[in-house]
Point group: C2
Chain length 793, copies 2
Amino acid sequence: METDSTTQKHLTANELYLIDAYWRAANYLSVGQLYLRDNPLMRMPLRFEHVKSQQLGHWGTSPGQNFIYAHLNRVIKAFDLNMIYLSGPGHGGPAVVANTYLEGTYSEVYPAITQDETGLKKLFCQFSFPGGISSHASPQTPGSIHEGGELGYSLSHAFGAVFDNPDLIAACVIGDGEAETGPLATAWHSNKFLNPATDGAVLPILHLNGYKISNPTVLARISHNELDQLLRGYGWTPYYVTGNEPNLMHEAMATALDEAINHLQQCQFAARHEGDTTRPRWPVIVLTSPKGWTGPKKVDGKPNEGTFRAHQIPITISATSPPEHLTQLENWLRSYKPDELFDEHGRLVPELAAQAPRGNRRMGANPVANGGLLLRDLHMPDFTDFGIGVPAPGSVLASDTQVVGQFLAKIISDNQSPRNFRVFGPDETLSNRLEAVFGVTNRQWMADERENDQFLASSGSVMEMLSEHQCEGWLEGYLLTGRHGLFNSYEAFIHIVDSMFNQHAKWLKTSMELPWRRKIASLNYFLTSTVWRQDHNGFTHQDPGFIDHVINKKASIVRVYLPPDANCLLSVMDHCLRSRHYVNVIVAGKHPAPQWLTIDAARRHCTEGIGIWAWAGTDDGAEPDVVMACCGDVPTLETLAAVSILREHLPDVKIRVVNVVDLLKLERNTAHPHGLSDADYDALFTKTKPVIFAFHGYPWLVHRLTYNRANNSNMHVRGYQEEGTITTAFDMTVLNELDRFHLVIDVLDRLPQLGNRGAYLKQSLKDKLVDHHYYITRHGKDMPEILDWQWKS
Amino acid sequence: METDSTTQKHLTANELYLIDAYWRAANYLSVGQLYLRDNPLMRMPLRFEHVKSQQLGHWGTSPGQNFIYAHLNRVIKAFDLNMIYLSGPGHGGPAVVANTYLEGTYSEVYPAITQDETGLKKLFCQFSFPGGISSHASPQTPGSIHEGGELGYSLSHAFGAVFDNPDLIAACVIGDGEAETGPLATAWHSNKFLNPATDGAVLPILHLNGYKISNPTVLARISHNELDQLLRGYGWTPYYVTGNEPNLMHEAMATALDEAINHLQQCQFAARHEGDTTRPRWPVIVLTSPKGWTGPKKVDGKPNEGTFRAHQIPITISATSPPEHLTQLENWLRSYKPDELFDEHGRLVPELAAQAPRGNRRMGANPVANGGLLLRDLHMPDFTDFGIGVPAPGSVLASDTQVVGQFLAKIISDNQSPRNFRVFGPDETLSNRLEAVFGVTNRQWMADERENDQFLASSGSVMEMLSEHQCEGWLEGYLLTGRHGLFNSYEAFIHIVDSMFNQHAKWLKTSMELPWRRKIASLNYFLTSTVWRQDHNGFTHQDPGFIDHVINKKASIVRVYLPPDANCLLSVMDHCLRSRHYVNVIVAGKHPAPQWLTIDAARRHCTEGIGIWAWAGTDDGAEPDVVMACCGDVPTLETLAAVSILREHLPDVKIRVVNVVDLLKLERNTAHPHGLSDADYDALFTKTKPVIFAFHGYPWLVHRLTYNRANNSNMHVRGYQEEGTITTAFDMTVLNELDRFHLVIDVLDRLPQLGNRGAYLKQSLKDKLVDHHYYITRHGKDMPEILDWQWKS
């Protein structure tokens, strides 16, 4: 390997010694975490019983990350930078823990892990030990906003962190394995969405150590020329640091980092003080260093450093391993000269401790990475001001999303200085009919503009890129650093980020268990363009299953809302944007639809989350013959239409209408904090009467929530059954047997006491379904009685 | 806009006329599909009633795709190419339908859509009409293997199609919107995995029409220089075609395509006949043309062609739209001169019809795109030959995946000529302990190789890139073109492809409804490194919810298996690899674990899919006191350990052990083809006895499957509750209350008749749990009684 070198030395001999010693200390602590349960300072000869009986963890990436961290410390001090560190490669835990320990943050957060031999021993023992800490930069790690257990999101998180944080630099280490993922491959394009004046900067450090688990990596195995073109093609300016000889590498890294920081600050200066409005070509560092750098060269006769074999534990120590393994480990540990690094008590020697930045400049202590510390409440307008008048149920048509768009527009305009609220989406904000937001803001866009573009500006509150991964990653980064936001998406395609939601939900759950981590704003998904209204998109766009996915996560974290109309949507949106540390999923339609509740009634209904709509039912407070429940806008419409049919034809049937906004009300209160007690549930659904439940999503979800209720055997749920094509909303309900006619038939099938009257009505509804089929096949639209249907009280 | 031009003309005047006329015909048919319900040849003046009452669909991408298709037809004929067409941009339906109609394929597949005025009218009417065809290249479209409803997978599908198809060229149109997605952004790197000698070639055509729904696209708004660097950095050689003047564009496209095909064939020739083993720099076409090209320049005073306004319906025609809209539409339609293109009967004139390739060379007729036509059964070795000896239940430890790895190795080696089986995975084949496959094959890799690399070769049956999206997309493309395969992945991270699974399952469901589409091989997911064994990965790697996601899809498509041991896994794998047109999910562990069934018993058990393990129970065929059910390897182990405790301490309790391999046996036979009848279910689970069900995944899934069974109220399910960290498998079960001690306590809680004997045992088990906690916290491993536990018959 060759090393880029400069003729003029960048570091003095003393600086070189100090930065190398600091690096050695971090490497020593990393190896210690992997191996040692005793003798943490190697003050004794290494014995078998000093070594953990099970060695678990990952060495490969650690020395490279230690190298980067030490050099970032240097530039933080030299330039007085406000910087955080994102560890993209999986399993960089030993490195980030080592460094936050060395800089002192770790002991401040975890006082039991002291800066002495006892603390070191504890630090080593807890790593990858049952009940201890994991091998990633997990929520337990101070300074981390990115865990990296699942790979691919570091760069998106880094950009999310610096939006509207003009003083912040997010240093983002990207592993060359991670770089192969789709989300990371498109995240490089984030530079087209970052404003150099009003946002901070991301400094990516692409770490080419050449191997994944057991394969080489793509980016390490293309020519230098291809790699250079790729990064420049993505719009970055690369600075290369390549080699393996520590002193040369320190010099090269220091040079490259100084150049990169100068470059970065020049981009900011030009935008902030010279009126330069062009998109800068930001710097990126490419560090090529051996996997498992400074580790054993050979183990059991096979090359280790610089190969895939350095990925996890280079040398295994067990009762059956060759005795020379222990010697080899001892030599490896001593190669870092721990006696030079730690004093007699086990404390980092002062001249090395002085290498770290001070106070909140330490990357482990930066409050940005514990975003709840900085979180301010949104200035929230009164949502009832945006309510629409509903003189009588069903008397008004409105687009729910258009109405809430007005509310969002006001929130955006009321939270501009400092800006701490953004709307993210994959170019669907207009399609989702949130156009009102473009009355007060624009889409932030730093690539070229042309005549006839709309709502683009170099700074704006709406972030749109056709990548759900990017939208999610940006938003997560934005939230984790103490701001607020909303992701609006087509319902079906939100599954693209299922796994990212998983990781964020796990982060929230774990961070809630850490008293020093403050709560952050909730991750709010606003799903529209739903399964029932895919008139011109069809079957591929029909999937209401994200909520099934979400509710498997910890009950303390997840919330799901399906408001039946615009006023309810306003109330739900208000609630979600004020909430903390949840994942909220809101599902609502965008097409004009009948409105049911006044804004006051909506607020009351949404506060309860579930309730009887007495105005719609015919049970008059008495025990009903049947409960007709509904959840979601289209199911609510079909349920009310079904109730009208029953009211007209069988006025003596006592119907109770229950509407569900807060889906998790259906769970038992022992399973979810929002869940109803059995008594409350039974009071709504009865213990013995048939329940016909019209549900927005897959019907089995309601069964999964209610299987343990007294009335389970009477619960009959209609929902989406994976039947659909390009057709009308009403025909979609027919294809899935959720339409008014099927719902009435469901009721009739459960009320045999109606005798011939029921049978007669059932036959006439079956005829209606046939009529519908013929009519839509011929005319391509619904029968007038469907189109013109209106609720009559 | 500028147009690249060459001094020497490439097309003769007549060729230019013909290709332009063919393009006009396709454009005309595209506009016709969007607008017309009558007067399909415009033989009458256009009247309001000729226009569809609702105009749905997407114009923007169509003319560009028509242009590409016409030019591909030319090179197919000129070079006698075996080519298929993938329509990456969303909503290219009008274009691909138009072209397959023009070439005659459409009428062959759908005889009612004749090559005359009547057929044209039907063609137009069915588009985006309820019950008609959708606006994508859906399964209904002849020649399609890629629908494009959800964006991002076209290039991966294209590569999957050409692996082991050396004569095939997959022409892949990539929209510049789609190009922003993560999966597409990394799919460009597929060229590092394609062997030019043994695989076919992909010809990407990046179509820069500048806009998504309402935003510009990133790749259309960076400099030419950046775009060029990006594509070259990805390893491709771009050929540019830029402009809007049709004649110049035809010339430029013909030139570029001829050059690209020559380039591509030169790459193949070098690899196949000149011994060149280097990775070629394949050609890519970059076509920059206006969105909605040839459409109206302005509508309602606003520019349309070349802007985002051309995305869907440029001119709306309704009762309230301005009357000039109709005139404008008429002028637009007539601008293509339909009278020149179609004869008096409405048939494409012969000289234009002659422009299309013949027979199976037509891209709509290529049998590769109806893969079931070409599908051959795998040569399957007898799986029982790979069974391991199990002298007594629990007497042998083995890694299930290592055992099945031997079977997979034999399948790989038995299916090499022609090779039609591949294993895909994100660099986890070794980690998942399928190392036996590397005894017979390698990982296919065309990037640079170094000393110390392992199991890499320019041709091999294993495809590994650190992108689940790529693995899934490649495999789907491979299956859709008539081959077989397996995706092996960590269980938790398979959620990365949730949405891709959705789209594939929808494709399978729809294609089953089309008699002309033949069944293809099943999509097989092999999930290991499961939730229960994340000893050194921890919480981020724990998610068993993919099966929850899968079973929401159509019952006719999905199958889920959780074999309890290696012999069962062999039987299940054999079954899945022989199956057709399903999505099979197999979940199994990789760590050494007790083996329960002989290979014969395993075959019988897996054939049933669910059954009583009489050897484990104590009910002796009589009605039991309690049913202990288990599904998954770790739950089976804990259940049997719980049974041992009960057998030892309370030998009079009659226990029935039921093991579930085929999860969907739990559903009713009316809901799933594998489902048990109520009688069969009740015979296993009883109608009245407590059932303690130890489940591999989230416990609610079992409730969702069994809520409507007679014994629902006695069903008590233990599973993963989102509790976990770095710890032992046994401790993981304790954290989630699935361990043997909790299971016995669950039994005791339901058998009050045991009185003090039960209470005493319960207390001793609670003590055990405390002991466990202290032991593992101190020693980092399980108590000897756990480690040494063995089943005793």
